[in-house]
């Protein structure tokens, strides 16, 4: 009567992927699980098979080459600060990781899990009963987006705090699947579709997050939330400059994907802000209103520019 459940612990990436294929109709990888298991508890996504990948030692390393630092996808958020190279070259990443959820969750949640954190919406992150009562939104097989009063697109918000910083620093992902490994720019995995916010196959496994060294990134990270702990973001910004004069603005929490705007240090900042406001699709699906979060995009970007130029 009650559906059978399976729990598989894996020791290597290859094994995990093999298991994923063996159960590809109804499975989910489980890293820290702080996102997956809450969604499972609420019935947002219930998988018959959980493939626990936390036993894969090779994904828990931080390795350094002359040109890159590779962060294993299973490095826990709380552990990032223990790596001097990250402290020295990407302090904003440490700050961002330190603002995810709460200290206890950061001791379990992984960097890979955070960049793949499922999009959230006030009308989706609810129990099954609640979603039935509200009439099911697009993200859970309904017909319309309830947050927007009936649009035919899903605007669930992208809530990773680390991904905007990583994207601002030109991060790439090393991804493994049955057909081998490949490397993609982090921002390219995000679709902008709130229903399926990432274009990765379900079986794909992030092995490493790769950050370039030697670019002298300066990154300012900001997060809007009602409380100083526990809360998901209502708006995240990461604005970076590098030694080449590149300016990258990444905005999270206000669109189904992290919105990236590229510019130059000497460029017109007002144009960048207008572009950010134009590209982000903020809806009323958060503690704060749509209007306020839009207003804060400007405030955060202006403050970030100011801090970077000091």
């Amino acid at each position: 009567m009650i559906a059978e459940k399976i729990y598989i612990k894996t020791a290597t990436a290859d094994e995990a992927i093999s298991m994923a294929y063996a159960h590809k109709d109804d499975f989910c990888y489980l890293a820290g699980g702080t996102d997956v298991l809450v969604n499972k508890y609420q019935g947002n996504k219930e998988s018959k098979c959980l493939i626990d990948i936390t036993g894969i030692a090779e994904l828990k390393q931080v390795t350094i080459t002359d040109t890159h630092v590779k962060i294993g996808s299973l490095v826990r958020l709380d552990d990032l600060k223990k790596h001097p190279v990250l402290q020295a070259s990407f302090p904003a990443l440490i700050i961002a990781a330190g603002e995810v959820a709460s200290p206890m969750l950061r001791k379990t949640a992984t960097i890979g899990g955070n960049v793949l954190c499922e999009n959230r919406c006030s009308f989706y992150n609810q129990s099954e009963w609640w979603r039935e009562a509200v009439g099911y939104c697009l993200k859970c097989e309904g017909d319309v987006c309830i947050a927007t009063g009936g649009k035919k697109a899903c605007f669930s918000k992208f809530v990773s705090d680390t991904a905007p910083v990583l994207i601002s620093a030109g991060a790439q992902l090393e991804i493994a699947d049955f057909d081998g490994t490949h490397i993609v720019d982090l921002e390219t995995i995000y679709t902008g579709d709130g229903i399926k916010p990432r274009n990765l196959p379900e079986t794909a496994l992030i092995l490493n997050i790769i950050l370039p060294l030697g670019h002298d990134f300066l990154i300012v990270f900001k997060k809007l939330r009602p409380r100083l702990a526990v809360d998901f973001t209502s708006l995240t910004t990461a604005v970076s400059t590098d030694k080449h004069g590149n300016l990258r603005m990444v905005i999270g929490g206000v669109d189904p994907k992290p919105v990236l705007i590229k510019g130059r240090v000497e460029g017109n900042r007002e144009d960048y802000i207008k572009s950010a406001l134009q590209k982000t699709r903020v809806v009323d699906n958060d503690f704060y209103s749509r209007k306020y979060r839009r207003d804060m995009i400007r405030v955060f970007l202006e403050q970030s520019f100011e801090e970077l130029m000091r």
Partner: protein
Amino acid sequence: MKQATFYINGKKHQVIVGEHDMLSDVIRNKTGLTGTKQGCSQGSCGACTILVNSEAVLGCITPAMRFEGAKITTIEGVATAEGLHRLQELFVEKGAIQCGFCTPGMVLTAIDFLQNNPDPTIDEIKLALSGNICRCTGYKKIIEAVTDYVKETQHNKNIPHRQPGPNEAPNKIVGVSRPYIEATRKVQGLADYADDYQVKDALHVKFLRSIYPHALIDHIDKSEALKMEGVRYIATGEEIPVTFGVLPISQDETAMAIEKTRYVGEIVAAVAADTEEIAAEACKRILVKYTPIKEFLTIDDSINDIGPNQKIHEYGKFNNNIHKKAELRFGDQAQGLKDADVVSKMSFAFEGINHGFTEPHAATAWWDENGLTIITATQVTHYLQRALAKTMEVPLSRVRVIKPYIGGGFGGKGDPFPHEIIISHIARKTRKPVRVCLTREEVFLNNHGRHPSKMNISLGADNDGYLKVLDADIAIDGGAYGSFGVVTSYYNGVLLQAPYKLDNFGFKTIRVYTNKPQCGAMRGHGAVNSRFAVESLIDDIAHRIHMDPVEMRLKNFLDSNTLTVGHYRITSNGSRESLQTVADQSEWANKHGKMEYGHGLGVGCGFFISGSALPIIWNELPQSTVHLKVDFDGRVLITSGANDIGQGSDTMLAIIVAEVLGINMDKIFVVAADTLLTPVDLGSYSSRVTFMAGNAAKNAAENLRTEISSAIATKKGIEASELNFSEEKVFSNDKSIELSWLDAIEILTANRGAVSVSGKYISPKLGGDFKGSGAGLSPSYSFGACVAEVKVDINTGHVRLLNVWGAHDCGRALNPMAVEGQLEGSWHMGIGQALSEEMRYYNGLLVNNNFIDYKIPTTLDTPDIHTNIIETMDPEGPFGAKECGEGAIHPVIPAIANAIFDAVGIRITNLPIKSEDVLELLKQKSVLTDQMAE
């Protein structure tokens, strides 16, 4: 399912676990180690924290299978044969434990943190604990406990033990800070809460809840659900048709919806099954056919004629959804407002808020030869006994209600609840014990929290700052049922007649039914929002007449030993001392109005009842009765119906009895809140327990002392009045007779055996002879004041609360540490209502029904709190004591808003104070300033 091995607290456990079971479920349900608590099941409260292979994890979102074979430490494994872990001792000694539900998680989180960071700063400690929600303490004493541990272990600073007991001077009982008598049990995870009780062969209940706010139930098809293996019973509304409610005049609820539903989330059916999982699955297979009808979701919807639509309740003769109109007037407010030199009139709006106690509602019920027994998380064993007898249609003598340890209440466990009635019914039908534990979402749906409200209030004063007139027009949104709402309606108004002298005062409150979860009593019941309004208006008038707001309040305070306009008898009154204390401590005179733009200080005052002088159910019983029994071994057993919900009332009773008898606390035992064993006490609401149960305990102890004195007098041939009780001795004035306590008891019990006595408290006759005069009547009132310091970010509107200085007149602090804890918890809860908490609805559906989206302040959101106890020795309170658990919440919220005014010149009229509202008001002010400049 598979067999798995865990090494928990050094012991090997081989248990059968489900493949997707969470670790905290396995630990609680398969190994019986229920010290690990579950408050949210979403990793957002920290109560389930355990150590796995020496690292802290949140058990509620950790798959058990991940850690098969692991070494696990639960709270039960922290203490050793040598005794408590020193951090546990400090939690006990510093008063860091109130309800104790968060304590296991808090202790283990701290232990984990300290093993990696043994010498942290206070800020680092706050950060480390920021994922652990405590609703009782305001975190202050928890942080102090951890800080002291660090001082002791890292800086060789000796933290003196605070262990009252055998070594304590026995003539110092009242007025000495001491831990709760059960604190050591709580800190080890050994205290059993409602869901910790394992009654064998119990069925598990889950509920099917309405998905419509207002709908006719056309048909319920249980057939598919009943076919499921393991489903034992499915109950629907018509099986329990008798209505109930905490107030005799609001018996408007049935345990489950009958014929129609009145809010989204109302229980429509209940499934009892062998497991929770089966019951939950069966709920999904029940088909309910509804016909939705016009819903009423706002005050405005419900206050007006509703046309051809169906009312929420067929109640009242008018075609609207008004539940109650309460109005009292003293003097002519219209004329008073005309005559006043200055009038401030504002409109206010407040969102509803929830108690947010960390322990979800849980209960187990069964029937046997003695009738019904229910173990349940309740603040009102007595009223629940009545409600169960009524709805089960059995005599009162066939119902036994047992209150176990309670993980916080704050009013939210102060009504009889549908789940308690439903499991009692199913237990009778199935002849099996039946248990239920609500999810956090269900706790929010149960609600009974603070009413959303709107009010227009006018306050008039003369140019010298003396208040002349107050007129309040209030509307409150009661949700679908009555609960305490009639009382709330009155309290919104009547509790404005103090702490200031006001001869011309009137109010009208309308409570409406809406199709939302019902509202009821919550800490500071009824008057928190209207107090906010009045304190804001006073601040406004002070500003307009260029008078210091502290000075203006000092001018207007009522005196001690006086009557208010509505015939409240004010006896002890520490308003003045409270306000002066926080003003001095905050350096008000040097800072208010004198700091840079964006930085402000604000003040607020308040008062509250020390128990309602009138019982809810009119009868001739005393409001509290306490029994004492002493036997040959010298132990004194207190039995009391008072409900300790984490506020420390068991300890309070023990202190009072020990003081009167002159014996140590270790000779006192308390059995409380079991309707079979303990005499009637009306329950923990309206801040009545210290005053009423405390007085009853004092009366009982005095009666026992009389019995002992008489026995000794007879035996020794001395006047009983010559005898004294102190330092565990009974001695005559001339010391010619000096008996140890045991010798005295030997004389008492000779040829008689154990002696039992009774004590009682009955409130004096109070109040005027006008209709409505009983509302808010109390034998005593508490008073208090707060100053808040804020910084406002003018770019984002974000308000950062830096400091709260609070002072509260509790009459006398029987246990100063416990009083501080109540005050700090009250201020913390007020901070939440001020800055972040609200219940948000979408078409009647509660959107933020969890601890992620309902924003209880964390350690990082809680400012430095500076606590002051003001003692005024109430003439009728036990040893001078009066309430301290609710009133303190009143002044803190307006103090924050008034600080914002001081910082940036905007007047806050809506709660919570959201950054975006602050920003909008700043913009409006800027536009206004620009226009005026032009």
